[in-house]
């Protein structure tokens, strides 16, 4: 057993302290392990686990094969990687394939950035703090709110943390209920329920009609007490919610407004800071579209911004600008009394992992594109999705959505979606997301997405393949 521990903490080994500063990280040698065991009067490490009953221990892992050589494992992994299909992707539903400029990861993986976890003496790493400060400034600008944290684990946990923030900030009302539109990412709702149920916080569904929240359903909720309403932007079906009406309705009833946003969409759509008469209070979302590859689902990062008045309820690290003792500008962690190393069990969150490396990539991505570049990406996504919808809904039996969308929309198919997707996959097309399990009221509903990467050729390829699968003519 090799124990990785900074030597300088091994105070039971006084003979090593002179070298500790020079060699901070090495595995314990067998002599050192023997010395430590001797100090506590134990003959071997296994004896430390004696209190675990023998019936609970195992002596081996029969289903796990023996180790391979480096050459052997490289050969095996290359062979497995070769089996990965290269498909044309029309699938979104929460994670999106965008072009990532080559410079993004070339810079993000430089040694200075690659270990982007903020160190325990954070201010020693001014470069890391400056990058996070710039990230925060960009996300605050994109969402139109005052403050951003240094990121969270992913979009789903950022959403759950937003709900926790809202309940803390409105605790004088005593409400532990959050109003959530039906067409908010169903996986995020599951994650949020897992994090909120233990604190007796309930997500209450707001009914929908024609792919967006039903404003006429609000009247029935008058007199009920909610801490906040969450408004997806766009919603899970790609539709645009009536954000101004929902925001004003919520504020008139003392509720907070949580914007759950796609960051690319914010380059075109109204920022949460401009919603209604008083602006959304909190904005959160999945940062993956900003330069993070799909990578089978992670690592991604969540973003979280809010109005200044709510900053003490915000979880996670926050970097601020400051002056050093000589009056020179610098960066520092700020408002740390919210955090677990000071507040312990009363911290705003004890699971506020920040995805430093992903944030590094996102910051470089946004810097390279600039606001105009991001706007062009968003506009191209929107145009491609409109082309895709027009093209596919020209087929017999396929109908497109009603109302505006951003870069995702629902197609209604004449037959069950799952087998259609299987056949499209065999033709090298990731055809979209089957909505029928989560939203049976939509029938044979397929959620499709076309980012800026999809060309007219890709779209025509999809149209022909879908016509083939559905057995309908490929009329142009």
């Amino acid at each position: 057993m090799v124990c990785w521990t900074p030597l300088r903490t091994a105070t039971c080994l006084p003979q090593k302290t002179e070298t500790a500063a020079a060699v901070p990280f090495i595995p314990h040698t067998s002599d050192e392990i023997a010395a430590m065991l001797d100090a506590i009067g134990v003959s071997d490490i296994d004896q430390l686990f004696d209190e675990i009953p023998a019936s609970l221990t195992i002596s081996g892992l029969p289903d796990v094969p023996a180790g391979l050589s480096e050459a052997g494992i490289t050969r095996l992994m290359k062979e497995r990687a070769g089996r990965n299909a290269t498909s044309v992707c029309f699938l979104g539903a929460g994670a999106y394939e965008h072009h990532i400029p080559a410079a993004v990861w070339e810079i993000a993986t430089r040694g200075e950035f690659y270990s982007a976890y903020t160190p325990y003496q954070a201010e020693a790493s001014q470069g890391t703090l400056q990058l996070i400060y710039e990230y925060q400034s960009m996300l605050a600008g994109l969402t139109g709110l005052d403050v951003s944290n240094a990121s969270l684990y992913d979009g789903a946990t950022a959403f759950a943390e937003s709900c926790l923030m809202a309940v803390r900030a409105t605790r004088q009302t005593g409400s532990r209920r959050i109003l959530v539109p039906r067409y908010l990412n169903p996986v995020w709702k599951k994650v949020a329920r897992a994090m909120l149920t233990g604190q007796n916080i309930e997500l209450v569904e707001l009914a929908a009609v024609e792919g967006r929240s039903d404003l006429s359903a609000l009247a029935a909720l008058d007199g009920e007490n909610f801490a906040a309403i969450c408004i997806p932007w766009p919603n899970f079906l790609g539709g645009l919610e009536p954000v101004d009406e929902l925001t004003d309705w919520a504020h008139e009833r003392g509720m907070l407004v949580i914007a759950v946003c796609n960051p690319t969409a914010l380059a075109l759509l109204k920022a949460p800071g401009e919603w209604g008469g008083k602006s959304a209070d909190i904005a959160c979302g999945e940062g993956q579209p900003l330069g993070i590859p799909l990578s089978s689902g992670g690592p991604y990062f969540g973003f979280l911004t809010c109005k200044q008045a709510l900053v003490r309820q915000m979880p996670g690290r926050i970097v601020g600008g400051t002056l050093d003792v000589e009056g020179r500008p610098g960066f520092t962690l700020t408002l740390q009394a919210r955090e677990q190393h000071i507040r312990r069990s009363k911290a705003t969150s004890n699971i506020c992992t920040n995805q430093g490396l992903m944030v590094t990539a996102a910051t470089i991505y946004l810097s390279l594109l600039g606001s105009e570049g991001l706007r062009r990406v968003a506009a191209r996504c929107h145009a491609n999705t409109r082309d895709l919808i027009a093209s596919l809904s020209s087929l017999d039996g396929v109908t497109g959505p009603t109302g505006a969308c951003f870069h995702e929309a629902v197609l209604s198919l004449p037959k069950a979606v799952a087998p259609v997707l299987d056949q499209l996959a065999a033709a090298g097309i990731l055809g979209g997301f089957d909505l029928s399990a989560d939203f049976p009221e939509l029938g044979h509903a397929l959620l499709v997405c076309a980012t800026e990467l999809r060309s007219a050729v890709d779209i025509e390829h999809y149209r022909q393949a879908l016509a083939d699968v559905l057995g309908v003519p490929v009329a142009a």
């Binding site: 003490r312 009394a337 507040r343």
Partner: protein
């Protein structure tokens, strides 16, 4: 040496209590407590109407180096909180026993005041801590 006014009662958690003529009690943190915390940057106060039992965490005082809970010294209901502290938390540092008060409580049982420390006992406590 910190200031310990003779007309107040105290807790071992470094809170002070002043009985008012109308029967309510005003609560704050002591001069010693504010010295230990350093410059306050934020005070989180309870909502009016909240019912407190002795020992309940009722407020949070946050300085540049620490955040501490303030506990209810007596059973009671929050009648009022100090509205000035939202904008000027440093009043707790500059006038701990005056403008820096935190909460006014409607007491459930005024006789509980007799169980708190008087100025002499609190001064002894501070002397023992030094």
């Amino acid at each position: 040496m910190s200031d310990v006014p003779g007309n107040l009662r105290f807790t071992i958690e470094h809170e002070w209590v002043r009985r008012e003529p109308d029967g309510t009690a005003v609560v704050g943190i002591t001069d010693h407590a504010q010295q230990q915390l350093g410059e306050l940057v934020y005070v989180e106060l309870p909502e009016a109407g909240r019912v407190l039992a002795v020992g309940d965490a009722m407020a949070v005082v946050e300085s540049t180096k620490a955040a501490s809970d303030v506990y209810a010294p007596l059973d009671g209901t929050v009648r009022e909180v100090n509205p000035a502290l939202t904008a000027r938390p440093e009043l707790v540092n500059t006038d701990a026993y005056g403008d820096g008060w935190l909460v006014r409580l409607q007491l459930t049982d005024a006789s509980q005041l007799d169980g708190l420390l008087d100025a002499a006992a609190y001064s002894d406590l501070l002397a023992a801590e030094d």
